[in-house]
Symmetry: C2
DNA sequence: GACAAAATATACTCAACAGTAGATTTTAAT
DNA sequence: ATTAAAATCTACTGTTGAGTATATTTTGTC
């Protein structure tokens, strides 16, 4: 039958015979909703069973739908994987851009970056884990596109550190690898988070920010700064 | 034809018609050698392409051998995976036991543990990575056996910390999670190591030891201690 | 309510791959 | 040299799963 949508039901409908444009709009929304539901279920399955260990039929079954349905939204199985992998990177990049666009000291920008991106990574944990695990199974085009976003991320962090050093906010010294280390810290957050199992998201994020600051020699997190993070 | 052995050739043969027991012995050695070569190639392939992404025929081809050959050494594909996964844990446990058996202060034992186990983990990188990636594909029996070794590892570390605290060598306080954190540090070493790509094994190991010491509040690594590590 | 178009399902194809039965070669001892 | 046993291969089976051609249902429009 029809695709199993979110538990929110959404029986809502503006029933008057209103203009086409509205209907078109609704339709488009429906399409992306369905696409997203496919990605949600696929993400959960890939996360639990791995990419190769998951069949397209399984994804379909979860949605109470059949295989060709999936194939009308994605060219092939690998396209689903690519979409999932891209989600994590894209959102991280969006968050980073937003943080860097806001004004503030470099120190503040770094703190915010770690906190916000860290938060996003924890929330999108499965995407990030799937990406690191299954990267090698992407076709070259997808791999390239995603990798270039990943590079932009690293470069922006490197520039932030560089600017901060020039402005005298961070300790001078060789920072060549720091951006990579910070990227690493963030990437491995999901593992730390789920491995410990007991720490709250907030605690983990505070830990991340403090580690990041130590890494580039920007000192401890002050109580005031702590209070500013929610 | 015959199994492609190590590049060392090994045409050596004590040619005299010596006693059976020697021949028997040689034969047994050959068997384990072959088994190990299968594991070596499988490890490389699983590491690069994942477990599901690797066929038994591929493993056979690498050894210039056929599939039934493999199946005469392993019950099935999953048994190969289990053997690989077990290698990492078993060797880590061996190293840990040896370190803990040697006398020395608790502080020294911790330093040695981190250094030696860390070294082993870097060397056996692929096994460790494969284990963390493919764990879920093991059958319950294998998973249980391996997990119990993993537990013994964690418990011994926990005990080391505990003893060290009681002896006043480590800072008192809640250490409930520290063993897990240390286990985590060690587990993620391969990723840090290969991700950075530029750091030497030694540098990474020094970093590990220092992180471990900080974690349990045992202070910095002294120059003397550094000198003692090779 | 009829009809075109869109959405979704049924029922298949084809290839890849784990695992095996039985033939063939190699080894080692007499 | 002969022969039994061990080692290894050839050639197969059965299944699974990605991807698709075609039928059916649903939706929207007149």
């Amino acid at each position: 039958m029809s695709l199993k949508l979110d538990s929110t039901g959404n029986t809502a409908a503006d029933h008057d015979g209103s203009v086409k444009s509205i209907k078109r709009h609704l339709k488009k929304e429906l399409l992306t909703l369905k696409r997203n539901r496919i990605l949600e279920e696929a993400t959960e399955l890939f996360f639990d069973q791995g990419y190769s260990g998951t069949t397209v039929d399984e994804i379909a079954a979860r949605l109470q739908v059949t295989k060709p349905f999936i194939y009308s939204y994605f060219k092939n199985k690998e396209a689903i994987l690519a979409a999932i992998c891209e989600t994590g990177i894209s959102e991280a990049l969006d968050v980073l851009r937003a943080v860097l666009a806001a004004k503030g000291s470099y120190r503040d920008q770094l703190i915010q970056t770690l906190w916000q991106v860290g938060d996003m990574v924890i929330v999108r944990q499965p995407c990030v884990v799937i990406y690191t695990r299954e990267m090698k199974k992407l076709n070259p085009d997808d791999a390239q596109r995603i990798l270039s976003k990943r590079s932009e991320f690293d470069q922006r962090i490197a520039k932030l550190i560089d600017d901060g050093v020039k402005a005298g906010e961070f300790a001078a010294g060789p920072h060549a690898m720091d951006a990579i280390w910070i990227g690493g810290l963030i990437s491995w957050l999901p593992v730390w988070y789920s491995a410990s199992g007991k720490l709250s998201k907030k605690d983990v994020l505070f830990g991340l920010v403090e580690a990041g600051l130590k890494l580039i020699g920007a000192g401890q997190l002050t109580d005031l700064e702590k209070a500013g993070l929610n």
